[in-house]
């Protein structure tokens, strides 16, 4: 069964360093998303991406964050200068259809645990 994959599973970085989190969405999906979940807290939406551009972003997704689809399979989240409060699980998701479709279902990857020290 197709699934979303993410690498690495765990990333430890020092404050101020740049990190790139990688995702391979399900191959026939066209809509891609990043979420984060701070330990013990709600899942929080960061950004959605379609047709090589950002469709929607939350207030968490500030200038420190960027997303890219560098090729036909990968979808990346870059954090330019990490802060302690960026420590969280980051989940990538993809969907075949966008919002408003009768079958708007998002499938999540296993996550990358980011620890900023």
């Amino acid at each position: 069964e197709p699934e979303v994959t993410q690498t690495p599973s765990h990333q430890v970085t020092q404050m101020g360093q740049e990190v790139i989190l990688r995702c391979v969405p399900i191959s026939n999906h066209l809509y891609f998303y990043w979420y984060r979940q701070i330990l013990g807290q709600k899942v929080e939406f960061l950004v959605s991406f379609y047709n090589n551009e950002i469709s929607e972003k939350s207030e968490i997704f500030d200038d420190q964050f960027s997303v890219e689809r560098p090729d036909g399979s990968n979808f990346t989240l870059k954090i330019r200068s990490t802060k302690l409060e960026d420590s969280a699980m980051y989940f990538c998701a993809s969907s075949e259809y966008g919002a408003g479709a009768s079958s708007y279902e998002q499938y999540f990857g296993p996550g990358t645990r980011l620890t900023v020290t």
Binding site: K42, A99, F108
Partner: protein, 111 residues
């Protein structure tokens, strides 16, 4: 601000018992999704409900979408230890890609 409130936040019951988890909002959603999340893993989609009053069954799990599409429930019959996990609801707003998430119900089924 559209909020999805889940209740209870935490539930611990014996194997074999029945339970219901609720997801409520004052806002209308186009659809609502239920996920289950294991510790250290991503949410796994269980079901999507779209039509007001819709009922979907997944083995011992029954999902219902309220008539007004503002609330939903998940009922588990004869709970098993394998049902243990965090159950999340997420609602779709019209014409937006962002899902609105509930805080989750942590369910523990004791043997």
């Amino acid at each position: 601000t559209q909020l999805l409130e889940q209740s209870p936040q935490f539930l611990s019951i014996q194997e074999g018992e029945n339970l219901t988890v609720y997801c409520n909002s004052s806002s209308v959603f186009s659809s609502l999704q239920w996920y289950r999340q294991e510790p250290g893993e991503g949410p796994v989609l269980l079901v999507t409900v779209v039509t007001g009053g819709e009922v979907k069954k997944l083995k011992r799990l029954t999902f219902q979408f309220g008539d007004a599409r503002k609330d939903s429930s998940l009922h588990i019959t004869a709970a098993q230890t394998g049902d243990t996990g965090l159950y999340l609801c997420a609602g779709e707003r019209d014409s937006n890609y962002q899902l609105i998430w509930g805080a989750g119900t942590k369910l523990i089924i004791k043997p």
